[in-house]
């Protein structure tokens, strides 16, 4: 019997999270489309906060959903689906950042031998589209400082500031205690203050 795709999609919209997971595990495409529609803003925003480049963020967000599709059969439901997807976002973004750093180092070596590759790899100021207009310039400076943070501090800070997550959720995503996350966030803010001081000194 032929069923209109729109009707299938509407049926998927009534599924709860558990049913949605089961449907995606059985590779039902409408269910996967629904999962993408539900989690795309979360995935894209998180990745964008970490990599600070819109085009690359979209590519990585696609990779995240491909990974979700391929690995959802191994998802046991021990954590929330969003927690599991956040972890994939972080892993993929960090892989990309490491890849970018390797390219930068290679570009630097090339520049020693006269190539101009390094200059093309310098990222311009990042302007997040969701930042209020009055804060646009300050946010661009803050994003530069966020890039200088150690990996764990950067993740915790981005999840708190850009996704508005509480310490309990961040702890679940990063597989750490709430206390550890609290101290991580404190150290992140200290380091950011120091970087911003240095920025204003040289400014």
């Amino acid at each position: 019997m032929y069923v209109e795709p729109v009707i299938i999609f509407r049926t998927q919209a009534t599924l709860n999270e558990q049913q949605l997971i089961l449907a995606v595990q059985q590779k039902e495409e409408p269910a996967f489309a629904r999962l993408v529609a539900d989690y795309q803003p979360m995935v894209y925003n998180t990745v964008l906060g970490l990599v600070q480049h819109d085009q690359d963020a979209e590519d990585i967000a696609q990779e995240v959903f491909i990974q979700v599709y391929q690995s959802i059969s191994s998802f046991k439901g021990e954590s929330k689906l969003s927690t599991w997807i956040y972890r994939i976002c972080i892993t993929k973004s960090l892989d990309w950042i490491k890849h970018r750093q390797r390219k930068k180092r290679f570009g630097f070596i090339q520049s020693i031998f006269g190539s101009s590759e390094e200059t093309t790899l310098q990222l311009p100021d990042f302007h997040h589209p969701g930042v209020q207009l009055a804060n646009k310039e300050r946010a661009a400076v803050l994003f530069k400082a966020i890039n200088l943070l150690p990996e764990n501090q950067r993740i915790a800070f981005v999840l708190q500031k850009m996704e508005g997550l509480g310490q309990m959720d961040i702890a679940a995503i990063m597989n750490q205690s709430e206390g550890a996350i609290e101290s991580l966030l404190q150290r992140a803010k200290q380091n950011l203050r120091k970087s911003l001081h240095d920025y204003h000194k040289t400014d």
């Binding site: 590779k27 993408v36 963020a57 696609q62 491909i66 599709y69 804060n135 946010a139 950011l192």
Partner: protein, 106 residues
């Protein structure tokens, strides 16, 4: 002192500049592009094709293949060795019998 105070305030404002941030969303047709990429990367069958790449299924197929080979080897080893000797005489006799050409001696 005043300059330092202004700078501290500026730093606090910068630290809080992401407050009230709205989630960014990917460009329209994200799912269409994602689907096209999955079809390209995961094979011609597209996202449905990946079911065949699942480790559980791949291991099951491999296990079945190995089991069938083992059964075949065991059967071959345990079967009695019989040699079929075909000689010209036996073939001739067989043909003669088939066509009723045998010489009858009374």
């Amino acid at each position: 002192m005043m300059k330092k105070h202004v700078s501290e305030q500026e730093i606090e404002d910068t630290l809080n500049s992401l407050d009230g941030l709205q989630r960014a969303e990917a460009t329209p047709f994200f799912y269409t592009r994602l689907k096209a990429r999955m079809e390209k990367e995961l094979g011609a069958k597209g996202i449905a094709g990946i079911a065949w790449l699942r480790p559980s299924l791949a291991f099951s197929v491999l296990a079945l293949f190995v089991a069938l080979n083992v059964v075949t080897i065991i059967n071959k080893k345990s079967a009695p060795k019989s040699r079929v000797v075909t000689t010209n005489t036996t073939v001739t006799e067989q043909v003669a019998q088939d066509y009723d050409l045998s010489i009858s001696t009374y």
